[in-house]
């Protein structure tokens, strides 16, 4: 069976390379049938890759340990769900998943746009080029179909990966990462075919939005995973692997906004090309970081041969993008200029600058150890204080801009008009700010600013909905809720966008509350002893031990009360896995509705003999807003993405009469 998998991948290799070579030739020499053939090859590559995936999945499901990959990543006791998730828990399998998604997306994008011949004809070789890299890795460097005499049992999956997050987090992230390849390919396709119109943007808009949403949700899931499973009390530690996903997401956020400017004003063409290439290159860089472990120590290059290949590919992508953009620079230049520094276009531009600045500072921080090693011979690294400084410096103005943007008119906003529209949100901010200071929230300046700006943004977005609903109601009557639904239905991009902004606002407030205003306390307790934190009293009652499926669970039973009345009982502890010889931390969390936050308990250390428990407790206000924000985020994105018949008709009219007859 492994032979079938290998054969399928070799077929993918042949098809993808053919699509690259034939596609380029067809586009260059304007050969219609060859172009179609190359297109078909790309479509077929998805089918052959899918066959390879099915082969691996069957092997994983059937405990076929003759596959080295199956033996390395699963075991007989591993449940089916996690066995199938083994597809992406290892190096080779995750590359295969990447290729599957890439060929799948490519096939879909090319098929949906097959009538835009001259755009697709160049997008095909670009997509094939990216796919070639992955397929070469899979066929010749890092194959999931290596076989060996089957051992009795496999090595199993690391216990910390055996949870539902493992089923969702990597695929969602990949759907996001890989999705950024599509706008990149069509952008480069537009450059290669010397098109100067916005067709590539129109065609890829929903792709970018979808990829961006997947990447955002994937990261949120990852943070939640870290929060409840790894359980150190936080959800983000600025680890290179975490930053690996954040950077392309920030670049994609900037791109989503600046592309709107190009659609409305025809400006920023060069900037958009640079941004889409940046987002794509960062997505490849992101997976490179996660796989090669290169950042922790430059010496780990030798441990993973993939690292140098990836780096080479990234360099090729960067050089290709830069050269192509440079060569087409004359085509992209426009005469349209920014009319006023006080306009909605300008706020979009500031938003872009801040997002890219934040993205680049994170990139710098991630690369710092490599650069210092290369330049000074001594590895230095930056940590939380560095990242937090820039997150505050760039993030807070970004937050404020989310509120300012909707209030400013396009092209040119008069100060008079600004004064009127700013009034209510500014008042909201002022009232909130002074109230908070009076209540003692001035202890953290970034926290206070987040809340204050947040009030501004909330008022701004709220007013948008109110004003819009009022106007719609005045026009068409009916009920108020009906007017709201109609308003959103007719302006999906705008109001979907506002909903997404509201989600980001929730995220910011949740982060501020749970970091700037959290309380942490650690205490060593004997059974019967208590500790106090933020109004709670926690009493350590006793230790319990029980046998679970594949672990011995030790739990400290802790009673939680507030103001004398019992609130809940928590049981932080540890799990010991005899087979894997590992211990895992099992935190116990109480979701407190009073502050929309958590009471987070960690059994830092348990001494079974003396029964002494080292309990670490964190009170994190508003942290659950972060997870709630995820749902609003997806909802808002769906609204913004939802097909709009009116818009489709207009676009069809614009491009249909122009259809290339071939």
């Amino acid at each position: 069976m492994a032979a079938l998998g290998r054969a399928a991948l070799l077929l993918s290799f042949g098809l993808v390379v053919y699509a690259l070579v034939a596609g380029s030739l067809a586009a260059w020499k304007r050969r219609r049938r060859l172009a179609l053939s190359a297109q078909n090859a790309l479509l077929a590559a998805f089918a052959t890759t899918a066959v390879a995936v099915v082969v691996l999945w069957i092997a994983l499901a059937r405990h076929d340990f003759s596959f080295v990959y199956v033996a390395d990543h699963t075991s007989r006791t591993l449940p089916l769900g996690y066995r199938l998730a083994g597809l992406w828990s290892g190096q080779e399998g995750s590359l295969l998943l990447w290729l599957l998604i890439l060929t799948g997306y490519s096939a879909l994008a090319v098929w949906l746009n097959r009538r835009t011949r001259d755009l697709v004809v160049w997008a095909v070789p670009v997509l094939a080029g990216v796919a070639s890299f992955f397929v070469v890795m899979l066929c010749f460097i890092s194959s999931p179909f290596a076989t060996a005499p089957a051992p009795a049992d496999g090595a199993g999956m690391v216990p910390s990966l055996q949870n539902p997050y493992m089923l969702a987090h990597p695929p969602l992230l990949y759907l996001g990462y890989v999705g950024l390849t599509i706008p990149f390919a069509f952008a480069m396709g537009a450059l290669l075919s010397r098109r100067t119109d916005e067709r590539w943007i129109v065609v890829t808009r929903r792709w970018t939005l979808a990829a961006w949403t997947f990447l955002g949700v994937g990261q949120l899931l990852g943070s939640h995973w870290a929060y409840v499973e790894i359980g150190w009390g936080g959800y983000y530690s600025w680890d290179p692997v975490e930053n690996a996903a954040l950077m392309p997401w920030l670049a994609a956020t900037a791109f989503l906004h600046s592309v709107m400017i190009q659609e409305k004003r025809g400006m920023l063409k060069v900037w958009n090309m640079v941004l889409v290439a940046l987002a794509f290159c960062l997505s490849i860089f992101g997976t490179f970081l996660t796989r090669s472990g290169v950042i922790n120590s430059i010496h780990s290059f030798s441990q993973s041969p993939l690292g140098s290949w990836f780096l080479g590919f990234i360099v090729i992508c960067v050089v290709f993008s830069v050269v192509l953009i440079y060569l087409r620079l004359p085509l992209l230049r426009t005469k349209t200029k920014l009319e006023s520094l006080v306009s909605r276009e300008a706020t979009f531009l500031y938003n872009n600058l801040l997002l890219v600045a934040l993205c680049l500072t994170i990139l710098w921080g991630v690369m710092y150890p490599l650069l210092t090693e290369a330049v000074r011979g001594e590895t230095r690294s930056v940590s939380k204080p560095y990242y937090n400084f820039f997150l505050h410096s760039f993030g807070l103005p970004l937050l404020l801009l989310m509120g300012i943007g909707p209030l400013v008119a396009w092209r040119r906003a008069s100060l008079r008009a600004l004064g009127k529209t700013f009034l209510v949100p500014a008042l909201a901010a002022l009232v909130t700010g002074s109230t908070l200071i009076a209540l003692g929230y001035g202890s953290s300046t970034p926290g206070l600013l987040t809340y204050t700006f947040g009030a501004f943004v909330a008022a701004s977005i709220g007013l948008e909905f109110v004003r819009g609903t009022r106007a719609r109601h005045a026009l068409s009557g009916g009920s108020w809720p009906g007017a709201l639904v109609e308003l959103v239905g007719r302006n999906r991009r705008r109001y979907g966008g506002y909903l997404v902004h509201a989600a980001i606002l929730m995220l910011a407030i949740g982060i501020a509350g749970s970091s700037a205003y959290q309380t942490v306390r650690e205490r060593g307790l004997h059974p019967g002893q208590s500790m106090e934190i933020a109004g709670y009293t926690l009493t350590y009652l006793r230790l319990e031990q029980r046998q679970e499926a594949n672990a011995i669970a030790t739990r400290a039973v802790v009673d939680v009360s507030r103001g004398g009345s019992h609130v809940t009982t928590l049981d932080p502890g540890k799990n010991t896995y005899p087979v894997e010889q590992q211990v895992s931390n099992e935190v116990s969390i109480y979701h407190d509705p009073r502050n929309v936050g958590d009471l987070f308990t960690i059994a830092d250390q348990i001494d079974p003999k003396s029964q002494v428990l080292f309990l670490k407790v964190l009170v994190k206000p508003l942290v659950n807003l972060i997870w709630a924000a995820g749902f609003l985020f997806v909802f808002g994105a769906l609204v913004a993405m939802w097909p709009d018949a009116v818009e489709q008709r207009k676009l069809a009219e614009r491009y249909a009469a122009n259809a290339v007859a071939a």
Binding site: L4, L15, R33, D118, W410
Partner: protein
């Protein structure tokens, strides 16, 4: 093992057939030329985009005015130039539209 080989062979045959399909379907076509956007087409596309931009800008201005974000004075100042731009864009497209006998959108 034989099943695997047979399946692989089948897959290969299907793939090659699919890739060769355009050539098999049209062994001797009238034209194998892949048309590209000619200069008049590009020009028309550009004008169409400008027209849509102008119309969209007008729509947004009206929306902003109706929801109270743009004052009456500002609206009066801005709407004139925008209407002119839209009219120009429409006019520029007209000869081509007439040549194709298409209806022309009018701003509401």
């Amino acid at each position: 093992m034989n099943v695997a080989l047979a399946l692989a062979a089948l897959l290969a045959v299907l793939a090659v057939a699919f890739v060769a399909r355009p050539f098999v379907r049209e062994p001797a076509p009238v034209s194998d030329r892949l048309d590209e956007l000619g200069e008049p087409e590009r020009r028309r596309l550009q004008l169409a985009e400008e027209r849509d931009r102008a119309l969209e800008a007008l729509k947004e201005l009206e929306f902003d005015h109706r929801t109270g974000k743009v004052s009456d004075d500002d609206y009066g100042e801005l709407v004139g130039p925008l209407r002119r731009r839209a009219a120009e864009a429409l006019r520029a497209l007209e000869p081509r539209a007439e040549a194709r006998q298409e209806p022309v959108n009018t701003p509401r």
